[in-house]
Amino acid sequence: MIVDANALKYGDDINTDLIIPGKYLVITDEKRLGEHAMDGIDPDFYNKSRIGSILVVGENFGSGSSREQAPISLKNAGVKCIVAKSFARIFYRNAINIGLPVLECLDLWNEVRESDTLSVDLEQGTITNERTNRTFQATPLPPFILDIIQQGGLLNKLKDSL
């Protein structure tokens, strides 16, 4: 499974309240949630990301709340994959469960400029920056997590088991 898109780059400790502020949690339309993604940190995010993006972020991405609206809003804003130095626990599980690929890689952040085109190979856990032609190794996803992502999320697996 290969994901290609332009990078959007942000720093450390981006919490769930910055990803989707509390006032939007009653929005039940996922498309509209997407329009408010990253509202707390970059009001122009949706316009930059809607054609498809790969988020390249620092440490502790998604700390705080268990709100699944956080990864849902990112996915609906066009985010195809998130590469972080590290993730907060609940966000990490939530993203995988809705079929949004997440990879942990310490080295990539310093080697990416905003709008670089990246190519992510999820099976291998590698990320290639097409501008510099350099490839970085992320922590590979365990097979059962890769399986959830490849099926488009945990709900699709649940459907099959019922």
Binding site: G64, E68, A88, I90, L154
Partner: protein, 422 residues
């Protein structure tokens, strides 16, 4: 094994588990609120599920947006209410019936030592105060739990925090946790468990232990826990006649990290904007003028918290430069606060009282901040914009500091209140 490993091995039917091992655990209770629960309701129907694994092991509690502030929120209520009725969930708490979900879970007897409890809310870690393993999960996983009654976990490494010494007057569990946060850092316990123990924790009420465990998530932890003792047993037996197992850490347990804290000389602590580990003693803050003070939440909205604040406020007035909002954490606490005269004390002091909810704490309603405003709050998170406008500032404190600060209009150590009978 430590207490978390023992609980997880019991829940997974294994003799022993070790850190980083992935296990499949039987869930004892599962909880959703409306904000996370409407997604569960929609997902549950999407996958074509017809019934839950056990309706008696599920609690559905409206708390974030009650009473509904907008038509959109009312629609979310409707989805969740219909879902609860359709599934015949006895543990459904509508507007006016329960209050903040974690308080309701504790006081209605859903939490018992040795059990595994998941909630679709990050502050589910609160139930570790009774020696349960409890953690927050998302709505998709919760849908799976509703159907199967099981969930996978990675066994966490555990940090043991040993606390000794006696708290001074006006210092307590909140100040202790903020000191821990300063030490560990706000992502310092990611994926880990925090086990609180030592003589100070043994002397603490269940309410104070709840404050400690509640904030474990604020340093990234998967769980916060206190080994059960007589106080735990008395509390649980006063709420339920169900049986339970007392599990404790083995005497020779080795921990990934151990932290010793002596509270003897601890003074009131404040988490400054915009992070819970940006902690300073009140004495080092200088003059911080306050537009609003908020007393409430799953962290510090219990009767003990209201009593501490009311004692400081009794017969006095909230400073005209500021405003005080008091929100008891549950209907039960509200009644107790009325019967013991606390509500009257607050109203006579000039406080606004609101029905039990999470409203202002997460920036939903009932006390949102304007741009440029500063608030002192007894809640658990001071992220940028958490309680309203991104240009508002949020400081976190204990109920005692909140009450003293309401009288002066600036962040104040209660022991410095002139004319106060301390």
């Amino acid at each position: 094994m430590n207490i978390i490993e023992k609980i997880l091995s019991k829940a997974s039917g294994m003799k022993e588990v070790v850190p980083d091992q992935i296990i499949d655990a039987k869930i004892d209770y599962a909880m959703i609120n409306e904000i996370t629960g409407y997604l569960v309701a929609n997902y549950f129907r999407d996958v074509g599920a017809k019934k839950v694994w056990d309706p008696n092991r599920i609690a559905i509690i409206l708390d974030h947006t009650i009473p509904a502030p907008t038509a959109e929120a009312a629609e979310v209520h409707r989805i969740v209410r219909e879902f609860a009725r359709e599934l015949n969930i006895p543990g459904f708490y509508d507007v006016g019936r329960g209050g903040v979900c974690h308080q309701v879970m504790m006081e209605k007897g859903y939490v018992k030592p040795g059990e595994v409890i998941v909630g679709a809310d990050s502050h589910t870690v609160t139930y570790g105060s009774l020696g349960a393993f409890s953690t927050g999960i998302g709505s998709t996983e919760m849908t799976s739990v509703f159907i199967t009654g099981r969930l996978w976990f990675k066994v966490p490494k555990v940090i043991r925090i040993d606390v000794k010494g006696e708290f001074s007057k006006y210092v307590g569990a909140k100040d202790l946790f903020l000191s821990v946060a300063k030490e560990i850092g706000f992502s310092g316990a990611t994926y880990m468990g925090l086990e609180f123990g030592g003589s100070t924790v043994r002397d603490m009420s269940v309410s104070s232990r709840m404050t400690l465990c509640n904030m474990a998530i604020e340093v990234g932890a998967k769980a916060g826990i206190v080994e059960p003792d007589k106080k735990t047993v008395d509390y649980v037996k006063s709420k339920t006649s169900d049986s339970f197992t007392l599990l404790k850490s083995d005497k020779d347990t080795e921990y990934g990290r151990a932290i010793d804290i002596d509270v003897n000389n601890m003074t009131p602590q404040i988490a400054c904007p915009d992070a819970v580990d940006n902690v300073k003693p009140v004495s080092e803050l200088g003059n911080i003028e306050l537009d609003q003070i908020y007393l409430g939440s799953c962290t510090n909205g219990r009767i003990q918290d209201l009593q501490i604040a009311a004692k400081i406020l009794k017969g006095k007035k909230v400073n005209t430069r500021t405003r005080l909002i008091v929100v008891p954490a549950s209907q039960e606490i509200f009644v107790e606060a009325m019967n013991s005269g606390l509500i009257q004390t607050f109203v006579e002091a000039g406080a606004a009282i609101a029905t039990a909810s999470c409203g202002a704490c997460y920036g939903g309603h009932l006390g949102i901040l304007a741009s440029g405003e500063t608030c002192l709050s007894t809640t658990n998170r001071n992220f940028i914009g958490r309680m309203g406008d991104p240009n508002s500032k949020l400081y976190l404190s204990s109920p005692a500091v909140a009450a003293a600060s309401a009288l002066t209009g600036q962040i104040t150590d209660p022991s410095n209140l002139r004319g106060h009978d301390s």
